[in-house]
Every structure is written in C-alpha cells, then in structure tokens.
C-alpha cells in the first residue's frame, strides 16, 4: 500500500546536485545561481503567473527549437511578435538521450557550416550563461520542452538560465521517448526535478511544472492518459510543486476531448484534496493534434483552426500549437508565427462560458473516471510502501500500458482502435485493471464504429486509425 504523501519529500538534494552539475559539458552553475537569477527576473517571465492571470483567455504556446543561439533567439522574437503567450525552447533529440557529445559535434558543425544539423536547441552544450540572453526583451515565460527521462542536468541549467516552466515527467518522458531507460530510475530522476522546481519556487512565483499527456500521440485511450497525468501530478505534489498543469492531446473525437478535459480537471482536484496534498494551483493544457499530420497546407491549417476551436470549447488554460509544416519537417519561424496568429484569431471567437457537454460526452466522462479510479486504486494497493515505487511497479506489471511506446518494458498487451465518432476505445485491456462495466462501454464504443462496425482490428483499419487526419 503506497499512497502519495507529503512527507515523501526529499530532504536534502545538495550532495546529489553537486554530482549532477559536475557532469556538465558547459560551465556549471553553482548551487544557488538559479535562485539568485530567478529572483531578479520580472513577473512577466514566470509561467505560473501568466497562467494564474489569464482570465478567460486561453494562452498560446508554439513549439520550436533551433541548434544555434542566434537562430533560436530570432525564432523566439518572431513567435512573440506573432502573439505567443509562452515561448518554447525545444531541445534536440541527442540532448534528450543525454548524448551531449553528439549534440556538441552537430552544434559545432551547424555553426561552421551555417546550417541547422540538430532538431532542437542543445541547452546543456550552450550552457546557462549564454542562454540567459534568450529571455532578454522577451517579457514572456520560456517553456522547456524536451522528452528527457533523466533531465536533472538539463533542468539545473534551465532554471539557472531563467526558464520558469518545465515540461515532462517520469512516465510521459520515458514511455514515448526511450527504449531502455529504467522507469524506476526515471521516477527518481524526476523526483529530483520536481524537488528542484519546488525549491526554486516562492509562494508568489512558483516554478511551473507541466505534464505531457500526449504520450505517443497514437491511439492512447483517454483513461490511460488520465492515469498517467494523475500519477505525475501526485509525484510532483509529493515533492512540493505548487503550480502544475495536466495535459492531453486532441483525441480525434470531440466527445472524448470534452470528457477527458473535464475528468482531468475534476480528478486532479479530488485526488489532491483526498490525499491531503497541496495546495497546488492546477491548470489544463490542450495539445492540438499530435499524430500524423496532413501534408497539404490547407488541411493542416484547417486542422489547426479546428483544434483551436476545441481548446476554446473545453476552456483550456493553454493550447500548444503545431504548424502547417508538421508533416514535412521543422517549421520555419514564419510559419510557426502564422499558426500562432491563426490560433489567436480563432480562440478570440470561441469562448463558451459554460462547459459544453452531450449525452455521449457525459457517458465517456463517467467511464473514464470509473476506469481511472479503478486503476489508481490498483496502483495504490500494490505491495510497495512508497507511491513512487508503486508507479514503477504498475508499469512493470502492465497496469500502465501505452500503445506504440518504444520502451522495451512496455507490456504492449493493450489493444485500442477507433470506434464511435472516431473515439479511441480499448479492444483488449491486457493487464490494465478495468472493471467489467467499463470494458463493456469500450466494446460498445467499438461496435458503433461507422465504417467497419464491430469487426476485429485489421491492418487496414489500424492504418486508417493512425492516419485519421492525413487521408
């Protein structure tokens, strides 16, 4: 029995921090460099404050990262000019795997050859001193977006550089992003990150943590998104984080989007209060379609506009945007800013006041919540006495099973596909402990698929499901 508890908090991080910082290929900040630097920054660069002061506006955050400092800076200014409320700092894939060496080589070649040989900004190689310049004149919070199971050094440097929003978490940055990184280790490493963020928070200006409920963006059933989001929220709350956003990506079904948004908000508050954790200032982030994108620019823009409208309908605190270049490659700064403008245009005309619902959405919400509660109870009831160990065990035992995770320890026994109104439904639960009535509801959702009805999944329906927005 391992319930999340406030006294799971790591007491003294300093010895560990010294060891982590020693590995930095760029000049390492000392232990209180970040605190001092953050204290001198204006409120306008604090993500937690932007979120708190948003009123009824859904805030906008694009994605984007370039190898070289100057190019990244230009991108950031272009995005600001386009109306972005949060400015992204997306990290390259080598840094995400802690392969600073390859990143260094490609950064150097990018500089010498005057072209971009990395798919993101190698923050660890650039270092905190150089990167402090990024937020100068920005007057917007910078968000660290990566996909790194061991992000301890990366986050040390990010905080010292004045970055106030840290995305990720043990599950969401391991299961979609790594093949072999031990989840138990990832949990410990993210406890470090959470604790570090909490340590650098003040009551007025907390460092904001955000989960990445997108996961693999491919046929992940809403109930599993909810479980993963709740686990990361509770792990962060254990370490004293006081500003946190749960998130999810457009599912492809409006009813499921409405339902999942509602369940995430309600369940987050419920679990925290029931477990005596917090107070945490909670937010909801919506990622527009994260799966395979249409190549056609007009369709891509339509998809982006449609997602913006849904973000308005669910009253998301923030939407994370894509661009019309998504299917093709790293977007230009211009097209990235264009998408931001477009999303603002639609959002400004999509507020709904009261939350929308429907009989189907209500049913989906009810089922997601029942499933979530069942799985969380099963996780809490696992043998370990600490919550973090239970989370790791839940994954090992297949209670958490994410479709299309590249991770070699993922159970891969859960099978999902699209059903009613293109919603994602569970065909085979594997070892995920879902009650019978929930499974019956999932089966009903599958049976209502409009093209094939309740036939077993085939290769061609799988392709259609993955390419929902492409064809």
């Amino acid at each position: 029995m391992g319930l999340p508890r406030a006294d799971a908090l790591i007491e003294d991080l300093s010895p560990l921090r010294r060891r982590v910082l020693a590995r930095s290929p760029s000049p390492a900040p000392d232990l209180d460099a970040a605190a001092g630097w953050l204290a001198g920054l204006p409120d306008s660069v604090f993500a937690s404050r932007s979120l708190k002061g948003r009123g009824r506006r859904t805030l906008i955050q694009p994605r984007g990262g370039f190898a070289r400092y100057e190019e990244q800076k230009q991108l950031m200014l272009a995005l600001k000019a386009g109306g972005a409320d949060f400015i992204p700092l997306t990290i390259d894939s080598h840094t995400r795997q802690n392969d600073y060496e390859t990143a260094a080589i490609l950064l150097q070649r990018s500089e010498v050859e005057d072209r971009n040989l990395l798919n993101g900004y190698p923050l660890v190689n650039h270092g905190y001193l150089v990167s402090r310049g990024l937020s100068e004149g920005l007057e917007r919070p910078i968000s660290l977006r990566h996909g790194t199971p061991d992000a301890r050094l990366l986050v040390e440097i990010a905080l010292a550089a004045g970055i106030t929003e840290i995305e990720g978490g043990a599950l969401t940055y391991t299961l979609p992003y790594t093949k072999a990184h031990s989840l138990a280790e990832a949990v410990l490493n993210w406890q470090y990150v959470d604790r570090l963020c909490a340590m650098h928070s003040t009551p007025e200006r907390p460092i904001h943590r955000e989960s990445f409920g997108v996961l693999t963006a491919t046929l992940v059933p809403p109930v599993l998104v909810a479980v993963v989001e709740l686990c990361e929220l509770l792990l962060a709350a254990e370490q004293g984080v006081t500003s946190f956003a749960v998130s999810f990506a457009q599912t492809g079904s409006l009813a499921q989007d409405l339902a999942l948004g509602r369940v995430l908000r309600e369940a987050s508050a419920d679990y925290l209060s029931r477990l005596g954790l917090g107070p945490v200032c909670l937010h909801l982030v919506y990622h527009q379609w994260m799966g395979a994108f249409p190549r056609d620019a007009t369709r891509a823009l339509a998809l982006i506009a449609g997602a913006a409208q849904i973000a308005g309908m669910i009253g998301a605190d923030k939407i994370v945007t894509k661009t019309k270049d998504e299917a093709i490659g790293i977007p230009t700064a211009h097209n990235n800013a264009e998408a931001v403008q477009l999303v603002r245009y639609i959002l400004d005309r999509s507020s709904v006041g009261a939350p929308l619902t429907s009989a189907h959405a209500d049913e989906e919400a009810h089922r997601i919540r029942r499933g979530l509660d069942a799985i969380m109870t099963a996780i809490f009831d696992l043998p370990p006495r600490t919550f973090w160990r239970s989370v790791a065990m839940a994954f090992d035992r297949g209670l958490i099973d994410i479709p299309f995770s590249p991770h070699q320890a993922n159970a891969n026994q859960l099978v999902s596909r699209r059903g009613r109104d293109d919603g994602i439904y569970i065909e085979q639960p594997g070892r995920v402990p879902l009650p019978g009535d929930v499974l019956a509801g999932e089966a009903a959702g599958l049976a209502a698929r409009h093209d094939t009805g309740n036939t077993a999944s085939t290769f061609s329906t799988l392709m259609r499901d993955i390419n929902l927005m492409v064809a």
Partner: protein
Amino acid sequence: MTSGRNTIGTVVIGVIGNDIHVVANRILEMSLQSAGFEVLNLGTNVKPDEFADAALEVGAEAVLIGSLNGEAPHWCHGLKARFAARGLDHVKLYLGGNVVTGELPRDEVEAMFTRVGIDRVFYGTTDFDALTKTLRKDMDGTAAR
C-alpha cells in the same frame, strides 16, 4: 526471433540514432512478416554497429533502416564501412522515413544517401506493399549472386 524455414528471407529492421518514432517501425514489422519475411526488429534508438552486429548474427540479406526525426544524414555517414568491416558488403541497405528535414527534390535526397553506400532510399510516405515487392526482387538478386 527464431530462424523459420518457410520464410523467403531474413531482414533486420530498426530506427537509427537517438530516434524514438516507433509507429512506422511497428507497421513495417507487421507488413514484412505477413509478406513472409523473417524479421528481427531492433526497435528504436539503434546505433550503426548494432545494425551491423545483428545482420551478422542472423545472416540477414537486407537491413531496413528507419529515420524519422531528421538524424539520418548524421548516422548514415560511415554506416556502410561498419558492414564492410564485418564482411557484409552484400547486405542490402534500405533507408526510409523523413530522411531529411524539409522538402527537397527526390533525386537530390537519393543521391545524398547512395553516395554513402545506401542501396535504396524511400523518402517520405512509403507504400509498404510495394516495398516488400522490391525487397523480394532485390533478395532474389542477392541469392543468385
């Protein structure tokens, strides 16, 4: 993977570098298996030497390399040499996915990789049925050689 008898050939597949895009890799595995190939799927995050070692181990006639996140130009450089070093010059090297960033002319992209020893380049959306047919033909050629 066990080396079956009724297969028409053995291939190694995987996603190169620090790349974790696994969706196409899973689909490719299913397609090749249903077309009758014996498939060793190394999954994601596969480094050049691992491809070569695996090919040696299972006696693969072809290695199908996926790259989705833009790292292909980096990792394909010197790849052929690793195969040569193990006496695997005859193993066909296929590369597919988002092998470059942005939209470039197809022949330019193909030249870029054939220059470093890749035998066939599949740039962008690929019909896996057509792919298996090409593979089968290429393997007949290898077997005859």
